[in-house]
């Protein structure tokens, strides 16, 4: 491609996990993709567009990967994209504080024949540590453009794109190779020649890279050569090759090459104890780590509840006034639908917006500061002893926000057994959608202890998750979890823009859900509560929520299942509709109690069917019972099996029933049962 015929340029963003690829992606494309300060935030490739000068750039953000060996699913996504889609330029985002390891991926990208441009990030942290990098010399030595960027501030993004366009339009492309020593090079040449014989295959795959991978025993590449002309001979060579030794030798040679470059352009400063190091001494301390983690999470939930309560009251007053106004002024059934159905139902969900925003604000602060990665680290030992992989804690933590991305985040777990266990237990981490249920019930029945009750529920979710994992490990998925290796990102002051964007995006999603799924759900509940079989045996409008209504019929059909828990048919209906989205539990109760004007809290408090023990049981049931529809679909997608999906639904609902039953009985025993 020459400069005068610039058209679409396909750019792939690659790099190690947690080096800031998504930050650069957002800076280039203006997107608002979620950015986190821990590895594994991007598990699927994301596409964005940008016009730069005459060029139309299509930018693809790939999941982070340390190498192209394809040990985990996210590595496979990255590797396959580069091989199959052949992007015009690969921008490798390189962390300046860890040049040696980041350049290891560079050697592999170059071996793949990709045109690479390096975006150097975290230079400020490297500088703080006393490192110095001669960027010009580095670029010269590896014959690749290197641009120092500060994407959060948008610094040098234009220069980076200039280099991308220049690299894409450069006519000649110099293939860089690392020499692996005489003996190994002979083998590589032999395999290359065998691959060359199959012309269609040779056109699809970079020969040298494929030969190296075959000698390393890469299963994916071995599958690709199935049926090719040289397959038999290659397999014979593979039989005689000690893969692990070859892999180690190749890695050594790559690092030798990297050292040779870095010794000329990189000077490591005297290692001073940085603030980040200091914090790690304490936060990852054997004795203090877990209590500090619990204290911080407690503070996050207390703020969510305590600071949210008065704001919630303000919205509640507004919703109540609006519902009253509508019911008084809009005549007939339509006013009833609007006031008690829509405003009562959707309003019962919308009033929790402050709590939702606060919860996500707290999670964003913990994540952005780099603390979440430490949380995974300090919990690793405990997780391992319970049969879970240390990396599993990250999906569990993400599950506090929403279980859909959390289940998807299990893709970063290499071992299939570890991954399946994590998928099955992740929905036990209480997602934001369940929070309104806790707030209304804990707030109504537990007064000033509400914050502690909510914290206890979140803790119970994690306890059930880890105990279930232990059970699965010793029955369904026997074996030991794979060892856990995770790089600790440096602590950093959370960027206000990133924190507020993440908080607002989640709040907006919540409001969107309230205006769509929840609105539809409460209208359906209202219709079911308003219509039924009249005493004359005809179908028509009946007493709202009365014995003849359809909701009563559905609820009463399910009631025997819930009766031992002390739940009446109204709760049964709310729980059934909660499968669509957990917020609908509250929306449905709002509709069924006609809570538009007086407020759901007051309506529940005056219902004799409710008492603190039943409320506790209901909260435990909502915490643990089957995940919502979107999560079920994600579990099906990620496990690829209806069997495991059905198991997840049945297991979680069974556990929810048992523990809710226990909670109600304990509640009665300690005297809060009425």
């Amino acid at each position: 491609m020459s400069t005068d015929e610039i058209g679409k340029i396909k750019v792939a963003l690659a790099g190690n996990p947690n080096v800031g690829k998504s930050v650069i992606f957002n800076a280039i494309t203006g997107a608002h993709q979620h950015v986190g300060n821990w590895p594994g935030v991007t598990v699927e490739k994301k596409v964005g567009k940008r016009r730069h000068g005459e060029a139309n750039l299509e930018v693809v953000d790939l999941p982070g990967t340390y190498s192209l060996t394809a040990y985990s699913l996210d590595e496979v996504v990255t590797r396959d994209y580069i091989i199959n889609e052949k992007p015009d330029v690969v921008v490798q985002v390189v962390d300046a504080t860890n040049l040696e390891r980041n350049l290891y991926l560079t050697t592999q990208l170059m071996e793949l024949g990709a045109r690479v441009v390096i975006a150097l990030t975290m230079c400020d942290i490297a500088e703080e540590r006393g490192d110095s990098i001669d960027v010009k010399k580095l670029s010269h030595l590896i014959e690749t453009p290197v641009v120092e960027t500060r994407a959060y501030e948008g610094k040098n993004v234009g220069t980076l794109l200039d280099e991308v366009v220049r690299e894409a339009t450069r006519k000649e492309h110099h293939h860089h190779t690392v020499g692996y020593g005489k003996e190994l090079e002979e083998k590589i040449t032999t395999v290359e020649r065998l691959l060359e014989k199959d012309v269609p295959l040779a056109e699809k795959m970079p020969l040298r890279w494929s030969a190296v991978k075959l000698l390393e025993g890469d299963e994916e590449v071995t599958k690709r050569i199935a049926g090719s002309t040289g397959e038999k001979e290659i397999l014979k060579i593979q039989d005689e090759t000690p893969f692990e030794l070859i892999e180690a030798e190749i890695a050594d040679k790559r690092y030798e090459a990297i050292d040779a470059v870095l010794s000329q352009c990189h000077r490591r400063g005297e290692r001073k104890l940085t603030m980040s190091d200091m914090m790690d001494r304490v936060f990852t301390n054997k004795w203090l780590g877990i209590p500090l983690f619990l204290a911080l999470i407690w503070a996050a939930f207390q703020i969510t509840f305590t600071a949210g309560a008065p704001l919630m009251e303000l919205i509640d007053m507004g919703v109540g006034a609006l519902a009253g106004l509508v019911t008084e002024n809009v005549p007939g059934w339509f006013g009833f639908l609007l006031g008690d159905g829509i405003i009562g139902g959707v309003g019962a969900v919308v009033i929790f917006l402050p709590n939702i925003l606060l919860l996500f604000l707290m999670l964003a602060l913990l994540e952005e500061s780099g603390y979440m990665a430490r949380a995974a680290f300090i919990m690793d030992k405990l997780m391992y002893s319970l049969g879970l992989h240390g990396k599993s804690f990250i999906p569990l933590l993400m599950g506090f926000g929403c279980s859909v991305p959390a289940v998807m985040a299990t893709r970063t777990i290499d071992d299939k057994k570890d991954r399946f266990i994590t998928i099955l237990v992740t929905p036990f981490a209480s997602c934001g959608a369940r929070l309104p249920v806790y707030i209304i019930l804990a707030g109504t029945f537990f007064g000033r202890n509400a914050g502690n009750i909510i914290f206890g529920l979140y803790a119970l979710g994690v306890i059930v998750a880890v105990l279930s994992a232990k059970l699965f490990r010793s029955t369904l998925f026997r074996g030991s979890p794979a060892p856990f290796v995770m790089e600790m990102p440096p602590y950093r002051a959370p960027k206000p823009r990133a924190v507020f964007r993440s908080t607002w995006n989640n709040g907006r999603m919540y409001l969107k859900k309230a205006g769509t799924i929840i609105l539809a759900g409460v209208v359906v509940v209202w219709i079911l509560a308003s219509f039924g079989i009249t005493p004359g045996g005809e179908f028509g409008m009946v007493d709202y929520g009365g014995e003849e209504s359809l909701t009563a019929h559905i609820g009463k059909f399910m009631e025997p299942l819930f009766k031992p828990l002390g739940f009446d048919w109204k709760i049964a209906v709310a729980l059934i509709f909660g499968f669509v989205a957990k917020e609908i539990v509250i929306g449905s109760l709002g509709v069924l109690y006609g809570a538009g004007e007086e407020g759901l809290s007051a309506a529940l408090a005056s219902d004799p069917a409710f008492n603190p023990a039943v409320a506790l049981g209901l909260m435990v049931f909502v915490l643990l019972y089957m995940p919502c529809m979107a999560v079920v679909a994600t579990i099906k997608k990620e496990t690829g099996s209806w069997g495991w999906t059905a198991f997840s639904i049945a297991y979680s609902t069974g556990i929810a029933w048992l523990l809710a039953f226990a909670a109600v009985k304990i509640g009665i025993l300690i005297g809060i049962g009425g």
């Binding site: 001669d134 200091m278 407690w298 503070a299 305590t306 008065p310």
Partner: protein, 168 residues
């Protein structure tokens, strides 16, 4: 960090450990017995967190007495940060409770500002003051180091070793 400064930090850590642990344990005991006094109300969780912060300071003192004494500063630093962070959390509670009182919410009819004047809030004045002092000192030191670096860099320029500044 020079030995004198480290010793000062450890002394401060010891003082803070005593205060946070004492107030924390008092709050836990008051919380269990259902009693409390003005400015030290009973609160089991709040007291446990104060005791935890006190333990971080105390760990700093213990580290100082051990073979890796130079790490003690890290614990005192982080202990001070924790004190300030939890003070902010408590301040948010106070503001929210005041708003709830202002709105006339049910549970807050008898709320008084002294109800929320808890040790987590006022004890943090000490770590806050210490952090401000350390910050001023570090800045002064950094300015001094910059001058040193400049001298060294000038020397390096003569020998031709390149730095990142040059490559820009």
């Amino acid at each position: 960090m020079d030995e004198k400064r480290l010793r000062c930090m450890v002394l401060f850590g010891l003082l803070m450990a005593e205060m946070y642990l004492t107030f924390g344990l008092l709050q836990v005991v008051f919380g269990i017995t259902g009693r409390g006094i003005l400015l030290i109300p009973g609160d089991i969780v709040g007291g446990a967190i104060l005791a935890l912060i006190g333990s971080v300071f105390l760990a700093g003192v213990a580290v100082w007495l051990g073979p890796r004494g130079e790490d003690a500063g890290a614990y005192v630093h982080v202990g001070a940060w924790l004190g300030v962070i939890f003070c902010l959390v408590r301040f948010v509670f106070l503001a929210a409770n005041a708003l709830a009182f202002g709105l006339g919410m049910e549970d807050f009819g008898e709320w008084r500002i002294t109800d929320d004047m808890v040790p987590m809030l006022y004890l943090a004045l000490f770590p806050l003051a210490a952090m401000l002092r350390w910050r001023t000192k570090s800045r002064k030191e950094m300015r001094g180091n910059d001058k040193e670096d400049e001298k060294v860099n000038r020397g390096q320029d003569d020998t031709g070793v390149s730095t990142r500044e040059e490559s820009k």
